[in-house]
Amino acid sequence: MTRSSASPQTTNPTPAIEVCNLTKSFGNFVAVDNISFSIARGEIFGLLGPNGAGKTTTISMLSTIQKPTSGTAMINGHDVVAEEDAVRKSIGIVFQDQSLDEELTAYENMDFHGRLYRIPGEVRRKRIGELLALVGLEDRKDDFVKTYSGGMRRRLEIARGLLHEPKVLFLDEPTLGLDPQTRNHLWEYIARLNEEKGITIILTTHYMEEADRLCDRIAIIDHGAIVVLDTAENLKNSIGGDVVTITSPDPDAIAGLLTAPWVSSIEQHDGLVTIHLQEADRHIPGIVTAIHQNGIGITSLSVRKPTLEDVFLHYTGRTIREGGATGKEAMRMIYRARGG
């Protein structure tokens, strides 16, 4: 407990988070499969993956909510199993599912939290005021949370997660269900927090744009395993220079057709063919000619730089939204607590 607080952050080489062969099984099902990574102090680290990838389970283990089946994890030099309390003191967490008391006001929710973390009264009141102002809720601070919109609740939860000034902040899908404007606002805020207070942030998301904009490094996680881990830039570069997307009535044929060595990879999905290649502008005429010569139609064709979406597709063979993500997401927003 004293180890990390005794030495200033800049001279402390201990990583904020050190995960080693972490595994979580539920019965025979392996939800998190032997993952290892290390997060530096002051980093914003993203866990990007589809529904059920194991993001929340990973966060739960790192935040002492669930015990790992095997492997170890250290937060600020403290073991999540052996030094639960020290870990709890140094982390803040915004859960994926709502975790506010709706029968209390926003201020009371904050105050309850501040007292749990034993923040002295004076400091507590001051910080609550500041944080509520920061998330734009100071006008509504004495309203019951049950009268809040989803976005307001989310902002309140984020403010609450920061109240005790954690060294490491976990954000589990922080912008899920928020409108684009609020989402943007929160992104800016998260980035600022990280910059000004040096808080290490680990966030999970299945929004590519969120991961791309915020995270210093991104781990793509699928079926409980880390598929690839790097900066967004490197991830995009790793899959080849350009992306050509072709819509066609017969995508199978196209996929079988393009076997030239300059095609780094080719995936097809939902009637779309996605081709990764270097110097697309030089090869497009060849592609189009080849397709036409084989009597296949092209509905549309576009060329662009790769996005994280392409990276994801490349490494997992699926788009992140496959498998009814949107439906589940909508369900989740109807807070699971409602009506039990």
């Binding site: 309390d85 967490i93 029968e103 009371e108 007292r115």
Partner: protein, 249 residues
């Protein structure tokens, strides 16, 4: 202590704000009191008590109100679980024992307030006045009932996934704990096969304790009542704390 106070405060705030619950749960006890009390007042003669049946059951009805409120308060942890609030509490650097004690005291406080509201109403209806000392004794026993059964509620809630078993448990509490207690009938007149059950029911001692406070007459010695209720309170806190330690959010 700060943590216990924090949890207690929230619990009491929530209770005081649930106006419909406070008023709603006065209905049943008042109904019972009016129907049984006035209805049987002239018919039933309690041996060793000059007052009528009405005066006899008032402590029992007060105990019932405390019992229901406290079990309900304890079980409310399931809602905290479902609303995710419990998770946020458990991830804080506080011990589960502190959380459990705070919750128990909060539930017990709510239960005593509920019992007091009922007592005031009863005074308006026409219970004969009691001495300050007697009143305090009654409140003390109400507090012990409150602690015991809030802790029981927490123990049950710690083992329950959701509200599905809730009705079953409430029925058990009503029929077994309340029904067997000496709330509505004198222990002395019981047949031999029920008497041991009534004497094994902790609520019996709570009711008798309140009865001693309010009317000065009890069939169980008040010290026995105190010893039994205090032991039950401690025991239930231990059991509740043990089960709560293993609660999965």
């Amino acid at each position: 202590m700060d943590i216990v106070y924090t949890i207690w405060l929230r619990s009491v705030k929530r209770y005081l704000r649930s106006k419909s619950r406070i008023i709603g749960s006065l209905g049943m006890p008042l109904f019972l009191m009016l129907v049984l009390g006035f209805g049987l007042d002239s018919v039933v003669q309690i041996p060793g008590m000059e007052e009528g049946y009405m005066d006899f059951i008032i402590p029992g009805i007060v105990a019932m109100s405390v019992l229901f409120t406290s079990v309900f308060s304890g079980i409310q942890i399931i809602w905290d679980k479902q609303f995710g609030f419990l998770k946020a509490t458990l991830v804080a650097p506080v011990s589960r024992l502190e959380i459990m004690i705070g919750q128990t005291l909060g539930g017990a406080t709510a239960a005593v307030i509920q019992g007091l509201i009922l007592m005031v109403l009863v005074l308006l209806i026409g219970l004969h006045p009691v001495s300050i000392a007697g009143f305090l004794i009654a409140v003390g026993f109400m507090a012990l009932i409150g602690v015991t059964f809030t802790a029981l509620g927490i123990a049950i809630a710690s083992r329950m996934e959701d509200m599905h078993g809730f009705q079953l448990i409430m029925n058990f509490i009503v029929f077994v704990i309340f029904g067997l207690s000496g709330a509505l009938f004198p222990i002395d007149g019981l047949p031999d096969y029920i008497r041991p059950l009534t004497l094994a029911d902790p609520l019996t001692y709570g009711v008798e304790g309140i009865r001693y406070g309010l009317s000065g007459i009890a069939q169980v010695h008040p010290f026995t009542c105190l010893a039994v209720m205090a032991s039950c309170a401690v025991l239930m806190i231990v059991v509740g704390a043990y089960l709560f330690r293993k609660i999965q959010s």
